[in-house]
């Protein structure tokens, strides 16, 4: 189990940052993502593995409005 913005999410082997975004349907382009406090650059979303028990923050910048 991992935490994404404070909500629980099932963990599975090989889960990447991109996998978290797809699972949560986070489609917004202006994101700041940290995994256990470490900032992940957009180009690394496909390759960065999310470990079990991780604390993932997906901060959506405002845009809109």
């Amino acid at each position: 189990m991992i935490q994404v913005n404070g909500d629980g999410m099932e963990w599975q082997d090989g889960l990447t940052v991109r996998g978290v975004l797809v699972y949560r349907n986070f489609r917004f382009p202006l994101l700041i993502i940290t995994v256990n406090g470490e900032l992940i650059q957009p180009k690394a979303y496909d390759t960065t593995l999310v470990p079990d028990e991780a604390e993932v923050q997906v901060i959506h910048l405002m845009s809109g409005g």
């Binding site: 489609r27 700041i32 900032l39 959506h60 405002m62």
Partner: protein, 741 residues
């Protein structure tokens, strides 16, 4: 993530220079003009952003005069919305209503407006007493008028009085002439009128870009929801384009004064007409920003390709796209009106900025629309937009997912002078009332207002423009429709009040706020009413969970409304602030504020005016105007806690269908937040529990926000707060507040 790669092969092949022309009767229209008053003035250019004078025109008495812009005005009110509110305060009494001659329309661009080195610097703020809310309304608009007015020599234009005949106010900033002309034969609707007047007042083809027309359309004469169009000449397309000061019915005030148009002819815009204090800093900041746009926009919001419509499918994905009168947040047909469609439908061969130098260039145009209904049936037109609000309001919120109809609704709103946001919300309300039997064909005079029936939706709009039938009732707006339907006994008063999405008399703009308490406050704990330009906190609150406590939400509802007020004091567009971000933004403290861009604004203000500020002073500048506006509302008999109540549809599920559509979410909240057992409750009990929990939280939020803003529990700025802000120098302001302490 939703990143469509731009594919030029998908862009429709539409000739963007082809459209119906309306110049045939130009000479006769011009010949019928009669000069009622003409004065001369000495044109001037600003010094450090200010001309230090404003222009007063009374269309009733024909008085035209210059007024000084004092140091105190600049210190306290800065410009733009601040100047508008100050002029209006001095013009009206607490008993003044929107259609009294002393009500004014003030257009002011702000000290920074008109610089061409940074993106989004051509905005004007329009202020008036609103026919919908009876308090001051402010509306932010692009187009060239504001900067051209300033480069003619005036920091603001105050229009007062009521004419007996249709008039045009012409300000010639090249020749130094101001004329009030009777205009008996001029066309009424904006896309025709702005084209005719641009040709009439330009002295030659090259002069077209120096003309901007402010006008409205037929619906502004028969409704309370009229808006103002501000034009500019699109050189590449060879036609006029329009931007809208939409909210609150200022177009209705305009026509009530019998103004057909205000036309400004300014000087040729170039380099540094603002005569700023430090041009080098502005140029350097601009170059850095333009580079950021070029590099990052294709990978971020794609504003240059899609405009603000880029968020249609994003709002749908996050269950935030208002659907069927804000009942739901998504719809299976959203893909028909998403940004991929608009990218292919909007012309991509030209850069669309609504003021010189805007590299964000989001003012997309859909060319070649052949109109199917109404007085312009068969005409080929260019439609500005659709912006997100139009796609959501005229589209999903009314169940209209046919993009051609959506464009036609957008076109007619613009040319008839109807605010698209307001129309979307009022039509969605009408449609829901129709669906629930509050309205029927007999009551609508034969209109079938079933969800998605775009033809009858358009017919209602045509009626509004003709001043006929049910369109006239709809044109009174949601608040007055609610009162009428309840008075006529057409439905359950509580249901009608719950689903009518207005606060203070203004219709909600197009975001679903049910799951974001902070945004509920962002809408209703506002000065003018529920427009998202004060605060848009849905992601911070609902998705990021960055605002877990009432105090955190209150802090956001302190900072962002003040930060965003500042754009309107200076003539900035909000979009370049946060629709692109620097590549290293994520590494910055308080990344959600986009600190590098905030610093850009601080630098540009300082470099324009020569007055050094920092980011705290920026907020302080706004706080003065924001609190002054709150006191103004109180002076007009509103602006208290009772006026900040929100309709329940904005707070939570009103009907069983809404509840059942998101039952898992709502049941979970009952279990986790309310510590009740949903399995042991009936649907009615669960809905009642939600109502009391959500209303209770909204009241707690209100308490926290008022406290943070330095207001009493009744929403009145305290004397200490006025003193902190330096507003205690105005005895009248203090007197208003004292009555409520």
């Amino acid at each position: 993530m939703t990143q469509f790669v731009f594919d030029p092969t998908k862009v429709m092949d539409i000739d963007f220079t082809k459209r119906t022309e309306y110049l045939e009767g130009l000479e006769a229209i011009k010949a019928a003009h009669k000069v009622l008053k003409e004065i001369t003035f000495t044109p001037s250019l600003p010094d450090k952003g200010y001309n230090n004078r404003s222009l007063y025109v009374n269309v009733g008495t024909l008085e035209v005069k210059e007024k000084p812009v004092t140091q105190q005005m600049k210190d306290v009110f800065i410009g733009g919305r601040g100047f508008g509110l100050w002029h209006l305060w001095n013009a009206v009494k607490p008993t003044t209503r929107w259609n009294d001659p002393e009500n004014e329309i003030i257009i002011s661009p702000g000290p920074v407006a008109g610089i061409t080195q940074y993106a989004g610097t051509g905005k004007s703020l329009v202020v008036s007493l609103s026919p919908q809310t009876d308090i001051p309304i402010d509306s932010n608009v692009g187009g060239y008028f504001g900067p051209l007015l300033k480069f003619s020599g005036f920091d603001a234009l105050e229009i007062q009085g009521k004419s007996e005949c249709d008039v045009i106010v012409f300000i010639d900033g090249q020749k130094g002439i101001i004329r009030i002309e009777e205009a008996p034969q001029d066309p009424v609707d904006s896309h025709v009128l702005a084209e005719v007047l641009t040709h009439m007042y330009a002295e030659n083809q090259a002069d077209m870009v120096n003309i901007s027309v402010v006008c409205t359309g037929a619906a502004a004469e028969h409704s309370l929801v009229g808006m103002l169009n501000f034009s500019w000449w699109d050189l590449r397309r060879g036609c006029i384009r329009l931007k809208q000061a939409g909210r609150g019915g200022i177009g209705t005030v305009f026509r009530n004064k019998k103004i057909r148009a205000i036309v400004c002819r300014g000087p040729q815009v170039k380099g540094d007409l603002n005569h700023v204090a430090d041009f080098e800093t502005i140029a350097k900041t601009g170059i850095k920003y333009h580079k950021e746009i070029r590099t990052n926009d294709p990978y971020q919001c794609m504003m240059r390709r899609n405009g603000t419509a880029h968020i249609v499918e994003i709002m749908d994905a996050y269950d935030l796209l208002p659907t069927h009168n804000f009942q739901y947040g998504s719809h299976p047909d959203t893909h028909k009106i998403d940004s991929a469609y608009w990218q292919s439908r909007c012309t991509q061969k030209t850069v669309d900025g609504c003021w010189y130098g805007c590299s964000m260039a989001c003012a997309k145009g859909a060319d070649g629309l052949v109109v199917k209904t109404g007085p312009y049936k068969g005409h080929t037109v260019t439609v500005d937009g659709p912006e997100y609000e139009n796609a959501a309001g005229l589209g999903s919120n009314c169940g209209v997912f046919d993009p051609d109809y959506l464009l036609e609704l957008n076109f007619y709103c613009d040319t008839y002078g109807i605010c698209t946001i307001t129309y979307g919300t009022l039509c969605a309300f009408v449609m829901e009332c129709y669906q629930r039997g509050i309205l029927n064909k007999e009551r609508t005079g034969g209109l079938d207002m079933t969800w998605g029936n775009a033809e009858d939706d358009l017919e209602m709009m045509h009626q509004m423009a003709r001043g006929e039938g049910f369109g006239v009732i709809a044109g009174q707006g949601v608040k007055k429709m609610k009162e009428l339907f309840i008075k006529n006994g057409w439905g359950d008063p509580q249901l009608i009040n719950d689903i009518g999405m207005e606060n203070k008399g203004l219709e909600y703009s197009q975001y679903l706020s049910k799951e974001s308490l902070a945004q509920q406050g962002g809408y209703a704990l506002t000065n003018k009413g529920p427009q998202h330009d004060e605060a848009w906190l849905i992601f911070m609150d609902m998705v990021n969970k960055q605002l877990p406590t009432f105090e955190a939400k209150a802090e956001a509802l302190y900072y962002f409304p003040l930060f965003r007020t500042w754009f309107g004091l200076n003539g900035f567009c909000k979009l370049p602030w946060n629709d692109v971000v620097p590549s290293n933004n994520a590494q910055q403290p308080e990344a959600h504020k986009i600190p590098e861009h905030v610093q850009n604004y601080v630098d540009i203000f300082s470099a324009t005016t020569g007055i050094k500020i920092d980011k705290d002073e920026l907020i302080h500048q706004s706080a003065k105007v924001y609190n002054f506006q709150r006191v103004f509302n109180i002076r007009m008999g509103k602006g208290l806690r009772k006026d900040d109540h929100a309709p329940f549809r904005s707070l939570g599920p009103v009907t069983s269908e809404e509840y059942l559509s998101r039952q898992e979410r709502y049941d979970k909240q009952i279990a986790e937040e309310m510590k009740l057992d949903p399995t042991a409750m009936t649907l009615e009990e669960k809905m009642a529990a939600h109502r009391s929990w959500r209303q209770g939280r909204y009241e707690q939020l209100t308490d926290a926000v008022y406290k943070r803003r330095g207001w009493t529990p009744n929403g009145v700025p305290t004397l200490e707060r006025l003193k902190e802000l330096g507003l205690d120098v105005f005895p009248e302001v203090v007197d208003v507040v004292k009555l409520h302490l």
